[in-house]
Symmetry: D2
């Protein structure tokens, strides 16, 4: 039996290929499907089934593309009217060689969410493993906030899915969730690549509440909803367009400047200090590994994107990440990287950097971390807060006539926020390197909000 987990790093997204006896199924494929084809070929497996545990919001699914390449059937939960594929319902079973996949409808994250129970008919009828999608993660459960007017209802559904469908499978069943640590689909997903029902029952805080407490907890929970989610939802219901044939190409500095003048978005994928000391004016600062997490907050789908790196070595990966969230209008990259731009004699943007020891508490300190993290760990006394993904909508809250120190967890999101502020004409900006992690490691003073994370009433 082959069980392969395929991780899409920036998204912390897990897809899976399982197979035996010449056949394979893929669960929640991403859009760049070569990895599944390669694995299937390597193991001599024909991909016969493609399951989607739900219509994903945070990336483009690859089901249609993979189906076209393999002839496999696409299957998803019946509680949504997808324009492609075949609906499945609780109890439906599918054979993949000697393996069986049985559908559990496990709504809560969304209405059409399903889980898939794997049994090996060569061994027994006992469940061996369950693909839980966004219902159950290692150390967390799925978010239930996609329907603002049905918060309690969805939380209740998730509770029932967990307690009535998934947990009864038995402690010894292996759990393969759709996301790992770092995903925007769960706030506290733990850092372990797989888990079991038994281990989750013993250690997952969300499974240690009664139904009412669970619902109250989930209703109070806040998660960000990046604007690109709406595009993904539309794409994934109808099947996203195929990845375009045109490959990104190198641009000379002149071409970069020309494209930018016509509306192309230049995205600088270097780290915070490189960006601070010299960048293409107007560029957005999103470090390479953050592309699939943050590009969707600020890039629209109608303007071309041009990447710039220090030595171009991260560009290929950036393109892959951007395409995973549907950005197909990627023109290219600045050939020779930032150095080529600098050599061209053109203007260069800059901002300040400082360590946590140099932060001047009398200035305007802007904390751009996730609000939950800010609440949980505390913040710099007197600091303001706007999430890095929401700067543009709150731009007027940031004073133009003061020195602004921008801080996040490590420095990357701060650099993104600084780049947005620079695009709006701000000039007195400093990125705090090392962020609140450095602040806390240096033992500097913290302030905590009095209000609890979850309201009592």
């Amino acid at each position: 039996m082959i069980i392969e987990r395929i991780v899409s790093d920036g998204l912390a997204h897990n897809s899976y290929l399982i197979g035996a006896g010449g056949e394979a199924a893929v669960i929640d494929p991403r859009r760049d499907t070569g990895v599944y084809l390669d694995l299937a070929e390597q193991h001599g497996l024909a991909i016969t089934h493609i399951f989607e545990t739900h219509r994903n919001e945070d990336y483009c699914v690859g089901s249609l593309e993979l189906a076209e390449k393999t002839g496999a059937q696409v299957l998803h939960g019946a509680q949504m009217d997808f324009t492609y594929g075949v609906p499945v319902r609780d109890g439906d079973e599918f054979s993949v060689g000697p393996l069986r996949l049985r559908v559990l409808e496990t709504p809560g994250h969304t209405d059409e969410s399903i889980s898939l129970v794997l049994t090996d008919t060569r061994v027994s009828r006992d469940p061996f493993l369950v693909f839980t999608g966004d219902a159950l993660f290692a150390g967390d459960v799925g978010r239930t906030d996609f329907f603002p007017d049905r918060l309690g209802e969805m939380a209740g559904k998730l509770h029932d899915s967990l307690w009535k469908k998934i947990l009864p499978l038995g402690d010894g069943v292996i759990v393969c969730p759709a996301h790992g640590a770092g995903s925007v689909c769960g706030g506290g997903i733990a850092d372990r690549p797989l888990t079991t029902i038994g281990y989750e029952k013993r250690t997952n805080p969300a499974l240690d509440m009664d139904r009412d407490t669970f619902i109250r907890f989930k209703v109070a929970e806040r998660h960000y909803y990046p604007p690109y989610f709406a595009v993904m939802e539309r794409y994934n219901r109808a099947g996203p367009p195929p990845i375009p044939a045109r490959t990104p190409r190198p641009f000379s500095p002149d071409e970069v400047a020309g494209a930018a003048a016509k509306g192309a978005l230049v995205v600088d994928i270097r780290g915070p200090s490189a960006f601070a000391a010299g960048h293409i004016p107007g560029s957005l600062s999103i470090w390479q590994r953050g592309i699939s997490s943050f590009l969707g907050y600020y890039a629209d789908y109608t303007h071309p994107i041009i990447f710039v790196d220090e030595f171009d070595c991260g560009v290929t990966d950036a393109v892959v990440q951007a395409r995973r969230i549907g950005y197909d209008l990627i023109s290219g990259y600045c050939a020779g990287g930032m150095t080529a731009w600098a050599r061209s004699g053109r203007l260069i943007g800059r901002c300040g950097t400082c360590t946590v020891h140099e932060v001047d508490a009398t200035r305007y300190i802007l904390d751009v971390r996730d609000i939950d993290v800010r609440k949980k760990t505390g913040h710099i006394p007197g600091s303001a807060h706007i999430y890095a993904g929401q700067i543009e909508g709150h731009i007027d809250e940031v004073p133009r006539d003061r020195d602004v120190y921008v801080i996040c967890d490590s420095g990357f999101k701060a650099s993104l926020a600084v780049s947005i502020l620079l695009r709006h004409g701000y000039t007195r900006l400093t990125t705090v390197l090392g962020g609140m992690t450095a602040w806390m490691n240096a033992g500097l003073p913290l302030e905590k909000e009095v209000a609890p994370l979850m309201g009592a009433a």
Copy 2:
């Protein structure tokens, strides 16, 4: 948390790298250690600990080599006097970043066998995963026949290790064994890459016996003991020699012939039909993926080895496999493969092939399968049996004056047996393509031994 399983295919051997927080441990490394270094580098982990669950018999351990490359400490069970490394005892704990590995002494397969319980201190003190070495496999348990005069004692020890140490860890604990399906270290290892204690308790037949039944079962069990095991045991107690610097080189047909004349062993790594229709006279037939399973039955460690393939494409892998079981005296390979030999105008050996439909029941039919498989599935009426790995010791049982049809499971081991018989001057030999699998698929008649697999008394 990183959990990587590294499979050495022919041996069905699992080694593991686990890590978090910048540190990693490797469990039961093989001799070609590049894979561990690459994984550690890729994840930014320093390998700090190397554990051996026991002194392995079926391959050369890579602990010393890996320790030299990383500075890590080698740790193994205290119940054997290894000439290197540090002995560990029940309850000893080791930190690998935020992870803990706790030693369970789990004798039975050998006296010094240990298991390692993994906990994640960031989450809880509950056990998350256990590395069981050769104590517990998916669907089977370790063999207990290495001390012929202590069969019952070792079986009892294994039972106690399982029931008193491993199973009590809890159903939800993930089990990572040292071998997978196909290993010579267990007769019935199931085809799943990992398992849990709960799933094994529900499905593993060896866990469904009381202590006495278990002991009787294990005492009655038969396993083969290839001659090279003795070399591995000596190597692994003292630490095997480093892999030699000299790389195998291409040989012209003249050089192959010259080397063979001086005692080099020519090993033909093609399939049964290719070997049958034309091979270098005197060569041993071991298909590429069977090198690490069967070379150790017939190759000694003092004569050079030369591989021959159809197009050379499998030679690199054959060399890796041979080195994993300590064959360092590999001179090279026949450049241009069997075609080059044929083009040279030299003599070529041949034998017959036939399908199961063409087997003549009046001739001498030699079944070379594992005796347990023969007993379990039945055999061709009237067929004789010698295991493929033991032909040389039983050569006189095979008649020289009759047509001999050699059959195994699929044809590979039959080809090996034929090649041994050819080396002893036999001429009237036919390899049955497709083996007993074809025989059974064709619905041809089977005979079963009356005696049960496990004696009643």
Copy 3:
């Protein structure tokens, strides 16, 4: 300056990527264009120009596909009315960064053939290198037999192209031809990856003749014209269809048998002895590396193809080779290779093998080598001749009531011929392993035709 030669092995086809200063040109791209995109990305080059030295006959060009992926312009000779791309004429110049490519019209192989002279404007106006397409090879010149009624005219044109256009560039100019040793586009191409005009002038036999001798020599020359050439010519004039999305998939033996019954062609890509001792009945024997050379003789474009290997490891390459010559209807491969078929208990085909020492001169000996090779090197006394690619059209020449020994150079083409004869019901067939190479190495008697290679009158 980047100069990369990309070799398509079976076809002995050379394509090239050259670039500098951020731009690149590709000469004669093949259909699987990933290699050009990867090279361009690795060197930070935008592919801006795609040149075709002529409408190729022996493979599908990748110009349209590469143009779609890069936006580059496709350019070819003006003397053919291609339905895509831009015609170029003698003296036209194109800038690729600081490099210049100047067109030389060099007809002879075809009317629209061009060569491309590379100069580096950073250095001098002197020619540095010339891409000669099928005009000039290392050790040979292009074939001129595509227009049977214009043989002398085309040979004369080629002579003029060589002597008036290419050779005058100067001895020190590097020559990059479109084919290397082993191509069907030239009988005597030498085994060197590149050459110079000076070296060719000193060593190329075709350049050592006056115009009349050259024309007589070329007019007398014979080359094979595989049926698929006609398809390639049609494809390449209009632009071939894109490579289909559907990937070949594993077939079970049942599925292979079912597909074959409906007309699928099973192609066995193993070597001659493997095929001889056991193959799927009805399969065609074309060794893996011979797919792009020989599939086009016997496979049509309307029936699906299924490959079978010993262990599947060569299937991917076989698919690539088949696609390079336009075979898009590839269903898949026999999962688990020939062993899986044998294990299924189905019937297996066989033929005999022998060494050259065992060839019985009183039987029918069929020589299937290239006729030119047969003439040049001599043949077995009394042997008949049909080229391996033309067996089907000459099937009646082979006696059904005699033992037939089939021989070629090494054994591969003999196995192909045997497989064709088997498909036509022949049974008394033996493949001579090692072929005429073995025959000559063994010092066995040869006969030579009296007639010279090139007729005097």
Copy 4:
């Protein structure tokens, strides 16, 4: 015939593998010899000969290591008493399959320098290709300044080697030199991967002088001699030590700080702006691709080295480059890169950056380019000059009480110079991004030295 050029990027060093008929020779192998073994295996070639065109000064040769792995013979010029290998003399010939390599003694760069003329005996006795070592490059010739008291003598020897040995081989002979553009072994090596004698005769400026002019030109030429050259010379005469087994490991920020306190050299391999805005105090700034060019100026061989990158992705390459020039005492790298350091809350170093438009002409402007480039292209009026590799020896020339703008070609060497000045306590430092390339592209004023590059008398 296989001709493979293997480029060691930072060093712009070319080594070659040539082979045919089952045998291969390697010319000037580098120390990490895997690439040669892989190529030989891929083509089925046994490496039988290893040639050194001379005792190299700029990198560790891999001859001994490769000889140990292959059993090949090491051969070098007779005019130096190497402690290993076999001396060869003018006219000596070596067979590599059907190829011949004939020795030409071509002193000038060094006394023992040889060239190797390749002929293909299957074709003719005419020379096909020549490996010229450091005698003749594309567009340049080797430096002749290694014996300061024999400048004229060596230049004369080189002239004779070129005119009497190499050029007479004929215009059509391909030239394969030991270095490409960017090497420290020649000031004006052109950007083309290979060349011919004919093309060099037409375009190489050094071949357009009479003997006296040539000698005057070479005697006047200046080249830098990095301190590590002396180590390489000692190593290469005796055979360098094998690459150590111990692999570099990840260091936590604490460990980096601890090691640095004990004398380890921290080398920051990011670009100039990343370094400027935040670096580990005391670290040396050498961008990744500059390691093999500049580490040898400032790192000694007795202190450990620790690399720091932005995301660790360049560390592996940095280690390879450092080992190529003999740095074996590489402890590791800062795990998690500069971000991990920042997150630790430790102090961070900084310096300024500016564009060429912001350079204040009234400040101290320090030009750290190669002096030849400064002379050839002109410089900023009033700027001082110290070569980036020689800052430490001229540290007192740089004022401590003034703002210092450091400029080079693009910014990399300036960053190196700044890092040296920072280590000496300078604080008022600004790296000019884009360097003189930007300056010239921006059309800013230049000053040229009156003195010609080559003295008239």
